[in-house]
Structure formats: structure tokens, C-alpha cells
């Protein structure tokens, strides 16, 4: 009986296995890199209707975050300011700037400025700004150094595992409460005061929820 398969066919199963292994590996590596928020979201930098420059306002001029994001210490959302807030200054500064036309329009007509949302959590996630800033978590931790951004982009992945990283180890991310809104400050851990941070966690009973009900209701 003649041979139907050449001898080299004996190596085929192994080759197929190796091929599938490589394919699987590449697919896994690809998905775990490209299909996660760390790739899909970080760096998202849409064009805003008003070219507002955070590096100028918050960085150079040193305006406190809370001047505009006034709800951050009270509410779940930090709230994007009303056009009125912009006009507090811009009714005397750069009153004719064409870049601010949209803001002036909004102030006069009440139509909102359609800011493009950058940091967006799904509807089933109930994140609360106020409790984080009240307990020593700085804006920087989630938003990056906004005071150095000319155009704001997403700096952190905001995925669930990323949230949990911190919730499971709060001591490494805490700041001195007076530094929360100072975007150039360092965490206690980075200042080499990890022991202090751990003491804070203990004394303040910082116990970030790691159960579902902490964020999903």
C-alpha cells in the first residue's frame, strides 16, 4: 500500500499546535493590550467647542480647581461650570475674543456650551467626587496633571481593576488633605512617608469599599 501522507506529515500536528499556540498568544496579548480602557481610553483628547486652556488657568494663573468645579466637595459630580462662571472674569478680560463667542452666547441665551465629555463612567457606576477629595484623594490621581494640559486628555484608564488597585491599597495614594487640590503635590508615599499614610488609613478609618455595592446600585 502506497503512502498517502508523506513522512513530513508526521510533524503536522505539532506544527498546528505551535501555530495555534502562537495565534492564541498573539490574540490574548492583542486583546489584553488593545481592548482595555488603558489603550482605548487613555489619551482621548477631543476637540472642545471652546479651546479652554487648563495650563493657563490652573497652571499659570493658579486658579483653584474648585473655582470652576464647584460641586466637587459636595456632590457626586464635580460639575462643569456654567457660562456665568466664565463670565465672572471674561466680562472684563478678553471681552471681544472670538474664541469666547460660544461662552457669551451661552450666557445670553441659556443654551449650554456643548463640552465634550472625556472621563466617562458607565451609567451603572456611581462614582462620587466629594468623598474622594474629602478623604485625601487628589484630583491628580484620576485626572493627571490637568494644570499642565493645554488641551485636556484622559490620563488614566478608569477601568474597574484600576479603581480597585487603589481601593485595595489606599495608603499608597493618599495625600495630606491640604494637598488634595494642589496638583503639583506628591502622595505621602512618594514623599517617603508611607508610614504616615498607613497611620492615616488607620486613624481616619479609610476603608474604601471593595464590594459591588460600593459603586453599583
Amino acid at each position: 500500500m502506497s503512502k498517502i501522507f508523506p513522512k513530513s506529515a508526521n510533524a503536522l500536528p505539532l506544527q498546528i499546535l505551535i501555530f495555534l499556540g502562537i495565534l492564541g498568544g498573539v490574540a490574548t496579548a492583542g486583546i489584553s493590550y488593545y481592548a482595555t480602557p488603558a489603550y482605548l481610553r487613555v489619551g482621548y483628547q477631543p476637540v472642545q467647542p471652546v479651546p479652554f486652556d487648563h495650563s493657563l488657568h490652573a497652571g499659570q494663573l493658579g486658579i483653584d480647581c474648585r473655582y470652576c468645579h464647584a460641586g466637587v466637595e459636595k456632590s457626586a459630580t464635580s460639575s462643569v461650570p456654567a457660562a456665568q462662571t466664565c463670565m465672572n472674569c471674561h466680562s472684563t478680560i478678553k471681552t471681544q475674543s472670538p474664541l469666547l463667542e460660544v461662552v457669551r452666547q451661552s450666557y445670553q441665551t441659556g443654551d449650554p456650551v456643548p463640552w465634550v465629555k472625556i472621563h466617562s463612567n458607565p451609567d451603572y457606576v456611581y462614582f462620587n467626587h466629594s468623598v474622594h477629595v474629602a478623604r485625601g484623594v487628589s484630583c491628580v490621581e484620576c485626572h493627571g496633571k490637568v494644570n499642565e494640559m493645554k488641551v485636556v486628555h484622559q490620563d488614566k484608564p478608569h477601568s474597574m481593576s484600576w479603581c480597585l488597585d487603589c481601593h485595595r491599597d489606599p495608603a499608597s495614594r493618599l495625600r495630606d488633605p491640604k494637598d488634595v487640590f494642589n496638583l503639583d503635590s506628591k502622595t505621602l508615599a512618594d514623599q517617603g512617608k508611607l508610614a504616615d499614610a498607613k497611620k492615616f488609613v488607620h486613624d481616619w478609618k479609610v476603608n474604601p469599599p471593595t464590594s459591588c455595592s460600593g459603586c453599583h446600585r
Binding site: 460639575s79 449650554p112 456650551v113 481616619w204
Partner: protein
């Protein structure tokens, strides 16, 4: 700030609002059907154009909205943040605001606090500043928010087919003023009852302006005792205020003071104060109820007598004879007959006499004047006046009646008729033929919230505002003036009643705010602006309650009331009595288009989406409705007429004085033998898609001379069958220990009686070595109860738990709808309820027991028949948050797990809908989203991808609570202990704590929605880890037990056993509650411990024939 929306005119289909909960069928797409619609809603709902929406959106302030159509790349949709142009005072996006307001309701408003999210009211709670209600509210108040966002409410002022704008409406009203100024001949008003001081002032002005005009008021339901009775008894215009908390012995004469009487919220609360027992030595009130129907009040009775409403006068006379020690009223008591009559009355009277000054006899508002006079006489003799019964001075109503108005219309003297609210074409007495007579009035102007039966007969319809969008004022049952404050601008440019009257009266500033301000500044002392601000802030005007007056019973004077007395009618199958009952949900029909209420099961019958002719088991037998078995039994050998929530009811025709109405018959245990009950408020012909066609209208057989009840009715068989959606087909506990009850004397001897009942008393201690440890210890230690499963550490700072007192729970259903409003629970429609797919997270179980259920409940003679005289046990049942939750161990995806504070949480996004958890739940409290109930109209649920994909109308979405996820199809859900409230409280506490360790939430901060609404404070939620918390104290009580505790699931919700307080001298006395008798029968005469009923079991109240 406003949301940016596409303001182009919405499509025609959207305008007519077909996609509310139950939408029109696909016919809506055909031009013919649209034409039909146009005829049906001639007011042109199409008036909801861009301008209206824009105006409303200006008030709205949502932070985020989807936008950027088509511009986004494929990476992610572009979302927008839309801030205000100019900031709005007090509003911080994301934080709710609370304002005091009130729900006007006949003459007894309910003070409320409304929660608004960026200008959008989503939930109301009772106003805690109003002490008589103590922060509680009612079923109807909870559901009223949904009406605000009803897409089928009247959305435009119309005249014929023409839409009127605001200017035209104002002109119209000014014209009426001008035409009739100074005389008023030919002008008539028909309004509903109101306790608004502003309206009273304006009506007085109207009478001055138009001296010959007719001002008539009509309420289909009488909920206050007739002033004529007080006038006869005391010679004063007073109304009674019952002080149930001070009453130790209470007799109700056909009075359902938990529901149908004005002030029922206050009364229920006061009653619970006298009912609540914390230790074995505490006293407890005793309730005797004599009634024809089976009311919630009757379900709480310690002694309940079934007696026709018509015979109530005879009974009252007999009781009065005994108490007063006379024979004066003997003629009135002629014909009265029921088993052990003399003993019943004598012992009841003796019990009252032993409690002089702390007893109370209450007569139902629908009873004739004579019953009330006799009740006053009894109370006076017992020395109750001023103690358990106060009287307050009220203005006698100067309004004309609907009968007089109908006569005037027939006489042709009415040229212009203004109908303010109400719905006389639907609910006026049938003999007046009010609807038909409207045709002879040249100009009929209807002012109403819906375009209903009456509007269809009126030339002009003016759209009324909801109370949450209008200025007004009202009085509570005790007369305290409360503000009705708007939370939102009128969504559809509606008109408020105050403004309408002010315009007709020719007021200079007809604006409703100005009118209310004027009224209050006259009544309040001091700076009027400050006083008004305080009034709005507090939500009530302090010291404005009706003045209490002292009264003395005048026997000579009251004799006049007996000159003409209603006749005693012996009843039989051929001569039935009809009781027209205020419905628990529809009330008089005004809530017909409210989906929450329609879907909420009736507290006694458990029927949703319909009413039924209620008949007693005996009458049913005589009618031949119960052939071999019982209608209410399922899983029996005999003919079961129940399958999976489908009650296959016989349709009968009620024949009363030549008028007929058809409806399904439901057998209701506990009715007087020959009384049939017709709940009012159903059978609407022109409501929305929710209300139209549910049930039958009992108004069709109700005449002006017999508003409360009538005799001479017959039931005629039609041979047809109809499916009723009944959510609890099984009525018996079958001798199990679900609800554990004892009589008060047993409780005094054996406070821990609950431990002697149930499987736990037969098994080794399920808690192992931890058995005698404190609840706080048990709640937070592992391993729990020798479990094989590894369980998570419950090491959170708080450990949440709940206690429900079955002794005070009256089964009013308010918790069900409060939960629905708080937690965005959808409604599913009758068809899905028929399949047992209702979604309410709380189920109120209602059990009957008659002492007959035997050891062989299946098949034996014992409880084959429906009980005629059952005892009722109510039990709110919802997720028990078991520490060793059976649902969690079977979930393949860990979608339901415990959090560290002991809450059994649902991660909706993980759920893949296997429903294993629901199958493994011993309490059957998990609910599954079989469809996208929040997205699809209930009539296109089965159309799959062919159905309309569009969302609910924007208006309907506005009622949703933004703090709770909207669940989608294929997801399991259940009670979460209002986890959103828990988390918000924790966040608030941590925010307050800042850089300190003060993160423990003080007890009482968190109230779950069901707890907050509960009129009787039966539900308490809190931290069981804290031994001093209210809930821990309740759980430490002897009466505390866990339902199905022997399963060792360790529920965090536990119940306090129910107590009954029967009088040993009464003929129907049973030494054990009847459910315990059944329990003992089933389990044999138990030998484990004293609690197992070695006492004499004298049960079985005689099932005697009385009529």
C-alpha cells in the same frame, strides 16, 4: 441650564402618547386609527409642541446627555456635558433638593416633602414637621408622582377641535366674569370637595360677585362623618377627631379608619401606638369590628362580626341600649340576628364599660346619621368625649349638591357650567343621568387633569395642573394649613384651580402665588413675607389647626334625628345588599391611569388591574359557583380555578333597581353572607391606556339616595368566564409557621412564644455554639452556623438589618409603591401579572386561617371549603438578606454576592439571567426582567426585534430615580435594602468626617423607602452591629423570629410575632389564634415546651347563618 434637544415637531405618533406603559397596538400606525384617536382626544394632544418642551427644558437641568450624532468615531460615542448658561440658585448638579408641599385630597391633605433632581420631582415623602403623620405618607401620595409624568394627561386647553392658548383661556374666563357680573343667573359651578383656604376665600368672593350663581360640590366618596349627626347630637357644627392612641377598647361600626375614612393616615398611626408592645407587661388595645365588607381595619380586628351595612343601625341601637342601660332604641334593633347575638353585644358593651374614658366607638362615614348619633351617645355615656374623641369646629358647607344642580340643569336655568375637577359624567349618581343632561347646557367648561368622560361632553376643556406644578394651599384632617408648592413649571401650560377661580371672580392679581400669599398673610401674624417664607419652609402654618370645642351630648335634641329612620331589610339570595367601597388604589376613579396603582394588588383580594364583585363563600355556594372545591385553593385534588396567578372568574350581572353592571365574581372570605362588595373607581371609558377598560364601573348602579350601600340587588349568571390577575392564589398557611401569632395573655406568660413554634423548636440549635450570643456578635462572626460553605467575612463597620413588626403592620401596601417609586421598578401589565411576572420587590402576603386546616391538608375534608370567618395575617415579604444566602451559592457568575456590611447585593451588569438564584430562594422574592419593561411598551413585549425599538417617551423617563440603575431584559433584581440610600449616607458621613475617623453612621440616619412611608412604623432598618440601635433593640425582643429560620440561611430581616387581644368572655373567643390552632393540628399536639398549646383550643367561631 437646559438640555439641548431636537426641538423639531415630534412625530404624530409620539404626540398622542401611545407608548406609555401599555401602548396602542400596531394599529396606531394606520391612518384610520389615528383618525379614531383624533376623535377620542379632540383636545389635540398635538399641542405639546416645541415651545412647551423648550419652556419645560429650561427648568430641567441634567448634567449629561447623549449628543454628537454621527460625529463620533468608532472608538466611542461622543458624549457631552451641558452646563447651565446661568447658574440656578441652590442647584448643585448631582444633589437633590427637598421642598415642602402637600397633596390635596378631599378635605384632608397629606403634607409632603418632595425630592427634586435638577428641578424634576421624582419622589415624595411625608413631611416630618407635621407631627400627626410623623413623616409617613400613603399609598396614593407615593403613586401621585407618576401622574405628573403621565403622557396621557390633558396637554392642551381645547375648545372643540381647536386648541386654546393661554391668552384665549384668560379671555374666556374674563368673559364669564363680565357676562355674569353682579347677578350670576345662569352660571353654575360643580367642584370637588376641597379644604383650601384660598379656594374658600375665592368661592366666597364668587358668591358675592354672582349672588344667584350655583356653587355645587360633589364627591363620589363620603369620607367624613356627616356634620348633621354632630349637629343633632351636640347642636354644634363640629367634626370628630379620634384619638386612637388613648383608646384601649375600640369598636368600629363599618368604619375602615385605616383606609376609607378621612385622616386614615393619622388614625392608623395612632392606632399602632396603642397596639405596639415591646415587653410582656405592655398594654395593648382591643379592636372590635362590625362590618359587611372585609376592610384592612377588619383584618386587624380581635373580634370581627360580619354584618350587613344595612343592619348596622340595628346593631348600634342594640349596643347603645346595653351601654346606656335603656330600652329606648329597642325598636331600631328589631330584626337584628346573628349567632350569639345577645352575648356578643353584652360582652362587648361590658368591655367598653370597663374602660370608661379610654374606649372609642367609631361609625363609618357612609353610615346614616342615626348610626353616628348613637355612636356619639355611646361615647358620651362612656365618658370618652374630650379623651379619646375630640371635636373641632368646622364651617358648615354652604355648597349645593349635585342633585340640586342636576335639577337646575333639567329646569333649563343653567347657561354656563364650569366643572372643576371631579368626573361627574363617570361618577355622579346614575339616576341623575348627569352626563346626558350636560347636553342641554349651552356652555360647559371642564377643568380637569385628564380628558375624560366629562371632558368628552364639555365644549371646552381646560388642562389642570398637577399639584406638584401649581401653587395652592390645603388643610390636613386636623385643619392645619399646609402649602401646595410647585416643584416644576407646568409641563403643559396647565392652569391651577386657584387661578381659574380668581380669574372668574375678577381678582386683580389672579396669579395663584399671589392668591395664596394673600390668604396666608391674612391668617399669619407678623411680617407677612417672613411668615409666608416660614410657611413654605416648614410646610405648615403652626397653630392653624381647627379649634377644639367642648361638646355635651343632648339626648332631647338628638331624638329628632330618629323621626325618620332607614328601614331594616332582611337579606337573602334574592335580596342582596350592595356595598360601594372606596377602592384601595383607584380611590373614586381618579387614579385610574396610574400604572403603579393598577399593578399594585388589592390588599385583601390580591387582584391587580381589575376590580371584582366580591361575594361571601356562602353566597357563592348558593349561587353554585363552588362546585366541588374552592376557588381559592390551588394544588388541590378538586377543581382548581387558579393556575399561576390566573383566576378564572365567573362573570355575573348585578341587578339593582333596574340598573345592571357586569363583572367577574371573586369569593372573598369574611364578607357578610348576603352583602356583595363593588369597589368603585374602575371601568373607566375615557381614561388613558392604563385605566380604560380595567374592571367595571360600580357607579352604573349607584343612585343618589344610596351612595354608601343599597339593598334589593340580585346576581344573574352570564355563563361567561374572565381571567383575573391574582397575585396570591394560596390563602392558607396550612399549619406552617410563616406568621407566628399568639394572644396577648399567652404572650404575657410566655414572651418568647415564637421560639416554641416552627421547625427550629424541633431541631438542634441552628446557630451551633453561637446560639446565645448577641445579634451583633452573630452578625459579624464566621463561621456561621456550622455551614459547609466558606462564607465571606462580614467585617464591615456597619451590619445592616431590618425588623418588621407584624403586630402593627396593617397591610396597607404603601411600602410596595414607595419601593417602586424609589427603585425604578417597572410595571409589566395585566398579561404579565397573569403569568406571575410582577416586578414589585415587596410582596404583602395575606393569609386566612379558620382553625380548620388539618394534618392532611391535601385531600382531607378539613380546609376544602373557604373559611367564612377567617382571621387574617399580613406579612410584608421581600429579600431577607440571608447571611448564608442560598441564591449566592448557585450563581454561576457571582452576580449576587454579599458586601462586607451584610447586604445581599445584585451586580446587574454581571447577571446573565440563569434564574438559578430565584429557584433557590426559599422566600421567592427575586424578580426577573423577562422583557425590557423599561424600554418596550407592554403590548409589544413579544414582538422581539420586530417591535418598536424606541425608548419610552421622555416624559415617562423623568420619574426615574437617578440614583438607581435601570435594569434591562434578562437581569434578576430584588430588594437591595435601598443600597443607594445606604451608600449616600456613608458618603455623607465620610465627607463630614474628612480627616478624622468619625465614619460611623448615627442610628436613624438611613431610612429605607418602605420604612419611611410606613404609617405605623412597622419597619425599622439599621445597624445590627450597634447594640443600641433601634433595630438591634427590636431584634433583641422576645417576639423576634426569622421566617424559615430552620434553613439556617440566617436572614437579616426578621419579624416580630403578631399578637391578638381577644376578650375571653366573647362568644367567638379562641384561646389560640386560629393559625396556631391549624399549626397544632398539623403538627400534632406538640410536646416540646409550654408554648405548644396545651391550653384548651376553643376555636371554631360558629359559622352561623346571619344576614
Amino acid at each position: 441650564m437646559k438640555r439641548k434637544f431636537d426641538h423639531s415637531a415630534p412625530a404624530q405618533r409620539e404626540l398622542t402618547g401611545p407608548k406609555y406603559w401599555r401602548s396602542l397596538d400596531e394599529l396606531a400606525d394606520t391612518p384610520g386609527f389615528r383618525e379614531h384617536l383624533a376623535r377620542e382626544f379632540p383636545e389635540g394632544a398635538a399641542g405639546m409642541d416645541g415651545v412647551d418642551r423648550r419652556q419645560f427644558m429650561r427648568l430641567m437641568a441634567a448634567s449629561f446627555a447623549l449628543g454628537g450624532l454621527g460625529l463620533a468615531g468608532c472608538r466611542r460615542p461622543e458624549k457631552h456635558i451641558l452646563p447651565y448658561g446661568k447658574s440656578v440658585e441652590y442647584i448643585v448638579p448631582g444633589l437633590p433638593l427637598y421642598f415642602a408641599t402637600a397633596m390635596p385630597f378631599r378635605k384632608s391633605a397629606i403634607p409632603l416633602v418632595a425630592e427634586t433632581h435638577q428641578g424634576r420631582p421624582t419622589k415624595v415623602e411625608g413631611n416630618p414637621s407635621y407631627l400627626p403623620h410623623g413623616g409617613a405618607s400613603s399609598l396614593l401620595a407615593q403613586a401621585s408622582v407618576l401622574d405628573l409624568y403621565d403622557p396621557e394627561r390633558a396637554t392642551a386647553h381645547t375648545s372643540g377641535a381647536k386648541t386654546l392658548d393661554v391668552v384665549a383661556v384668560n379671555d374666556l374666563l374674563a368673559k364669564i366674569h363680565k357676562t355674569y357680573a353682579g347677578n350670576g343667573e345662569g352660571l353654575a359651578f360643580l367642584a370637588d370637595e376641597s379644604a383650601s383656604p384660598t379656594r374658600a376665600r375665592l368661592v366666597a368672593k364668587l358668591k358675592k360677585e354672582f349672588p344667584r350663581a350655583i356653587w355645587a360640590e360633589y364627591e363620589p366618596v363620603q369620607d367624613e362623618p356627616p356634620v348633621a349627626a354632630a349637629q343633632a347630637a351636640f347642636g354644634q357644627n363640629v367634626k370628630p377627631l379620634y384619638r386612637f392612641a388613648a383608646a384601649k377598647r375600640i369598636v368600629s361600626l363599618d368604619a375602615d379608619f385605616f383606609h376609607a375614612e378621612a385622616g386614615s393616615l393619622y388614625y392608623a398611626r395612632e392606632f399602632a401606638k396603642g397596639r405596639r408592645v415591646t415587653k410582656a407587661t405592655d398594654p395593648m388595645n382591643r379592636l372590635y369590628v362590625v362590618e359587611s365588607g372585609f376592610s384592612l381595619t377588619g383584618s386587624m380586628a380581635d373580634h370581627r362580626l360580619r354584618l350587613a351595612s344595612n343592619h348596622m343601625l340595628a346593631f348600634t341601637a342594640a349596643l347603645a341600649n346595653k351601654v346606656l342601660g335603656t330600652d329606648t332604641f329597642a325598636p331600631l334593633a328589631q330584626g337584628l340576628d346573628f349567632p350569639n347575638k345577645d352575648k356578643w353585644i353584652a360582652e362587648c358593651a361590658a368591655d367598653l364599660e370597663h374602660h370608661k374614658g379610654e374606649s372609642l366607638v367609631v361609625a363609618g362615614a357612609h353610615q346614616p346619621v342615626q348610626v353616628h348619633v348613637l355612636a356619639y351617645a355611646i361615647n358620651a355615656k362612656l365618658g370618652n368625649l374630650g379623651k379619646t374623641l375630640d371635636f373641632v369646629a368646622v364651617e358648615p358647607s354652604a355648597a349645593s349638591t349635585v342633585s340640586a344642580l342636576a335639577a337646575a340643569i333639567k329646569g333649563g336655568s343653567v347657561k354656563t357650567l364650569l366643572i372643576l375637577n371631579g368626573n361627574p359624567a363617570y361618577n355622579a349618581p346614575a339616576d341623575l343621568e348627569f352626563g346626558a343632561s350636560l347636553k342641554s347646557v349651552p356652555e360647559v367648561i371642564r377643568f380637569g387633569y385628564y380628558h375624560d368622560e366629562t371632558s368628552a361632553l364639555a365644549g371646552t376643556h381646560l388642562a389642570a395642573t398637577h399639584y406638584l406644578e401649581s401653587w395652592g394651599d390645603a388643610r390636613t384632617v386636623d385643619g392645619t394649613i399646609v402649602p401646595v408648592q410647585p416643584m416644576i413649571m407646568p409641563l403643559f401650560n396647565g392652569l391651577s384651580e386657584v387661578e381659574l377661580l380668581a380669574r372668574v371672580a375678577g381678582e386683580e392679581t389672579p396669579d395663584a402665588y399671589a392668591q395664596v400669599f394673600a390668604t396666608i398673610s391674612k391668617l399669619a401674624s407678623g411680617d407677612s413675607k417672613k411668615a409666608f417664607e416660614k410657611f413654605l419652609h416648614d410646610g405648615l402654618l403652626a397653630g392653624s389647626a381647627y379649634k377644639a370645642v367642648s361638646v355635651a351630648f343632648d339626648p332631647a335634641r338628638s331624638g329628632a334625628a330618629f323621626a325618620k329612620v332607614p328601614t331594616f331589610v332582611p337579606l337573602s339570595l334574592e335580596n342582596l345588599e350592595v356595598l360601594f367601597a372606596t377602592d384601595h388604589k383607584m380611590d373614586d376613579g381618579r387614579f385610574a391611569n396610574n400604572g403603579w396603582l393598577q399593578e399594585c394588588p388589592d390588599p385583601m383580594t390580591k387582584i391587580a388591574w381589575d376590580n371584582a364583585i366580591l361575594v361571601s363563600p356562602r353566597l357563592a355556594k348558593e349561587l353554585g359557583i363552588v362546585p366541588g372545591g374552592s376557588l381559592l385553593q390551588v394544588a388541590r385534588k378538586e377543581e382548581a380555578e387558579f393556575t399561576q396567578g390566573k383566576e378564572n372568574a365567573h362573570v355575573y350581572e348585578v341587578l339593582l333597581n333596574g340598573r345592571t353592571v357586569r363583572g367577574p365574581v371573586h369569593i372573598q372570605p369574611g364578607l357578610a353572607n348576603y352583602t356583595i362588595v363593588l369597589p368603585l373607581g374602575y371601568g373607566r371609558k375615557a381614561s388613558g391606556h392604563i385605566g380604560t377598560g380595567t374592571g367595571f364601573s360600580a357607579y352604573a348602579v349607584r343612585t343618589a339616595d344610596a351612595q354608601g350601600f343599597a339593598t334589593g340587588a340580585k346576581l344573574v349568571k352570564t355563563g361567561e368566564r374572565m381571567k383575573l390577575a391574582n397575585t396570591q392564589e394560596h390563602w392558607s398557611m396550612e399549619g406552617r409557621d410563616i406568621v407566628r401569632e399568639a394572644n396577648l395573655d399567652e404572650f404575657a406568660k410566655n414572651p418568647a412564644f415564637v421560639d416554641g413554634i416552627g421547625m427550629e423548636s424541633h431541631t438542634p440549635p441552628v446557630l451551633g455554639a453561637d446560639k446565645d450570643k448577641s445579634p451583633a456578635f452573630i452578625a459579624s462572626t464566621t463561621p456561621r452556623g456550622n455551614s459547609l460553605y466558606e462564607t465571606p467575612n462580614l467585617d464591615g463597620l456597619h451590619q445592616w438589618g431590618m425588623s418588621i413588626d407584624l403586630n402593627t403592620c396593617i397591610g396597607c401596601n404603601a411600602c410596595i409603591v414607595a419601593c417602586q417609586a424609589e427603585n425604578n421598578i417597572p410595571i409589566v401589565g395585566k398579561e404579565q401579572v397573569l403569568r406571575g411576572r410582577e416586578m414589585q420587590w415587596i410582596r404583602l402576603d395575606r393569609y386566612y386561617s379558620d382553625g380548620q386546616a388539618d394534618a392532611e391538608a391535601f385531600g382531607a375534608e378539613g380546609n376544602k371549603l373557604l373559611p367564612e370567618d377567617p382571621q387574617v395575617s399580613m406579612q410584608p415579604m421581600t429579600c431577607q438578606h440571608c447571611e448564608l444566602a442560598p441564591c449566592e451559592t448557585v450563581c454561576p457568575v457571582n452576580a449576587t454576592v454579599h458586601d462586607d456590611e451584610g447586604i445581599n447585593v445584585m451586580a446587574y451588569n454581571r447577571c446573565i439571567g440563569t434564574r438559578y438564584c430565584a429557584n433557590n430562594c426559599p422566600y421567592k422574592v427575586r424578580r426577573f426582567n423577562f422583557f425590557d419593561f423599561n424600554k418596550r411598551a407592554t403590548d409589544s413585549l413579544y414582538m422581539g426585534p420586530l417591535g418598536k425599538q424606541s425608548d419610552m417617551p421622555e416624559l415617562v423617563k423623568m420619574v426615574k430615580n437617578p440614583d438607581v440603575t435601570i435594569r434591562m431584559r434578562g437581569v434578576m433584581e430584588k430588594c437591595t435594602y435601598c443600597v443607594q440610600r445606604v451608600q449616600q449616607a456613608k458618603i455623607a458621613q465620610k465627607r463630614k468626617a474628612g480627616a478624622s475617623g468619625d465614619v460611623l453612621i448615627p442610628d436613624g440616619t438611613i431610612k429605607t423607602a418602605c420604612q419611611q412611608v410606613c404609617p405605623v412604623e412597622a419597619i425599622v432598618f439599621g445597624n445590627v452591629k450597634d447594640e443600641h440601635s433601634a433595630v438591634s433593640k427590636l431584634k433583641a425582643q422576645d417576639r423576634d423570629y426569622a421566617v424559615l429560620g430552620y434553613l439556617n440561611v440566617r436572614p437579616r430581616t426578621t419579624y416580630l410575632g403578631k399578637l391578638r387581644n381577644p376578650n375571653p368572655a366573647m362568644p367567638d373567643y379562641s384561646a389560640l389564634p386560629l393559625s396556631r390552632v391549624e399549626y397544632n393540628q398539623k403538627n400534632g399536639h406538640a410536646e416540646h415546651g409550654a408554648a405548644h398549646g396545651h391550653e384548651a383550643e376553643k376555636h371554631a367561631p360558629e359559622h352561623g347563618g346571619h344576614n
